[in-house]
């Protein structure tokens, strides 16, 4: 099959892919082509917005009484204990780095746009390469095997953490970058199943250390809470 034949074959599947109706075994092949082919990418995004709107055609169906309470209870809001970082079986090794690299990939933002998905994947690939090569990054470690790393990216830096428990419901995690002894906030974040990933526009060049603390929801002007991971001093 020539490249042109392959292109035509996949182009005929773009609408089906956008609707989620390409069989699972064919999906990676079709998606890879769409993300690499400008014509198919444009076609996919043309359909994607329409497809996302199909869901709007449904009728509202009232939820049973007590539904919100059940969701709140399942979310653990009313009984969220102040937990310590989870125990990990291993110390700092390649394993957390691989886990963090995986986190960078799985924490993608939900998107209806193929163009945005392509940009996400490119950014994640870059972050993943930086994590594994540790090129100019700052590593952080904590009790119980919790670990994190901040790595430079083209647009600033990316932060990935592994092995942290969910913050208590009225608290948040906050990342601090250190200029000598002076901490500068680089943002607050939450964890999902022990993993966290976010990107910032902060250039890492001027910083020589980092720490994560638990702070009141919304974050603090300066670190006030317990350090959960910190870079070696």
């Amino acid at each position: 099959m020539t490249n042109q034949d392959k292109h035509e074959e996949i182009k005929s599947l773009v609408a089906a892919h956008v609707l989620g109706s390409v069989p699972p075994e064919e999906r990676p092949y079709v998606r890879a082509h769409i993300l690499a082919c400008d014509e198919c990418l444009a076609e996919a995004d043309k359909y994607a917005e329409v497809a996302s709107r199909l869901a709007l055609s449904v009728e509202e169906v009232p939820l049973p009484a007590g539904f919100a309470d059940r969701v709140v209870a399942a979310a653990g809001i009313e009984s969220a204990p102040a937990r310590q970082p989870v125990e990990a079986k291993r110390g700092w090794s390649l394993f957390p780095k691989l886990a963090m690299a995986t986190a960078a990939v799985v924490m993608a933002v939900f998107s209806f746009s193929y163009a945005e998905l392509k940009l996400d994947l490119e950014r994640q690939e870059q972050a993943l390469a930086s994590i594994l090569s540790n090129d100019g990054g700052i590593d952080l470690k904590g009790p119980g095997g919790a670990a994190a790393t901040v790595v430079p990216t083209e647009t600033g830096s990316a932060f990935i953490a592994y092995g942290l428990a969910d913050a208590p419901s009225d608290k948040t995690y906050q990342l601090w970058l250190m200029k000598g002894e002076v901490p500068v906030s680089a943002g607050t974040f939450d964890v999902d199943e022990g993993l966290a990933y976010f990107e910032t526009s902060t250039n890492l060049d001027q910083y020589d250390g980092a720490a994560v603390t638990v702070e009141p929801a919304g974050g603090s002007l300066g670190p006030t809470g317990t350090e959960v991971v910190t870079s070696a001093v």
Binding site: A15, S21, V22, S52, S57, A68, M107, V109
Partner: protein
Amino acid sequence: MELADRLMERDESALRVVIATYGGLVHGIARRVVADQTMAEEVAQDTFLAMWRRPGAYDPERGSLQAFLLGVARNKAIDAVRKEESLKRTKESLIRGYVPGEMAGPADGFAERQQVQGALDQLSDLQKEALVLAYFGGRTYREVAEELGIPEGTAKTRLRDGLTKLRHLMAGSMEANE
């Protein structure tokens, strides 16, 4: 503070507002896809829990919270019917779901929802049944072809033509939302 920001800060009242506002629609799409009432409620619950546990997955710059929640719910519902054949709606029940009529639901986005249903009503029956089977029925294009007794190429064409026509019919409102 925006609802999305309050969710990021783990504000329980924000979660309750989201459920009160969008719960009926999220449940609506789950029921549209899944034949079983209890499973549809589970899909709705899983949708809100997913949003709560990973609020960063929603980016307000990429679309409305309503579209995000409906997208997540539909994906979860499709996953459920693909795992369990008995949860799948029949072709007849899926097609019957499209009886033009009065819509109810939150005022937020009401005109847009009415326009989407109006656009769907203007598709040919053949395009509509292919789209409905694929989008709400969780059928692959191969299954659409088999169920409708048509060649796979024809199934792909109907899906593409259906989306193209919807795009033209909805062009005005999509530009207005950009």
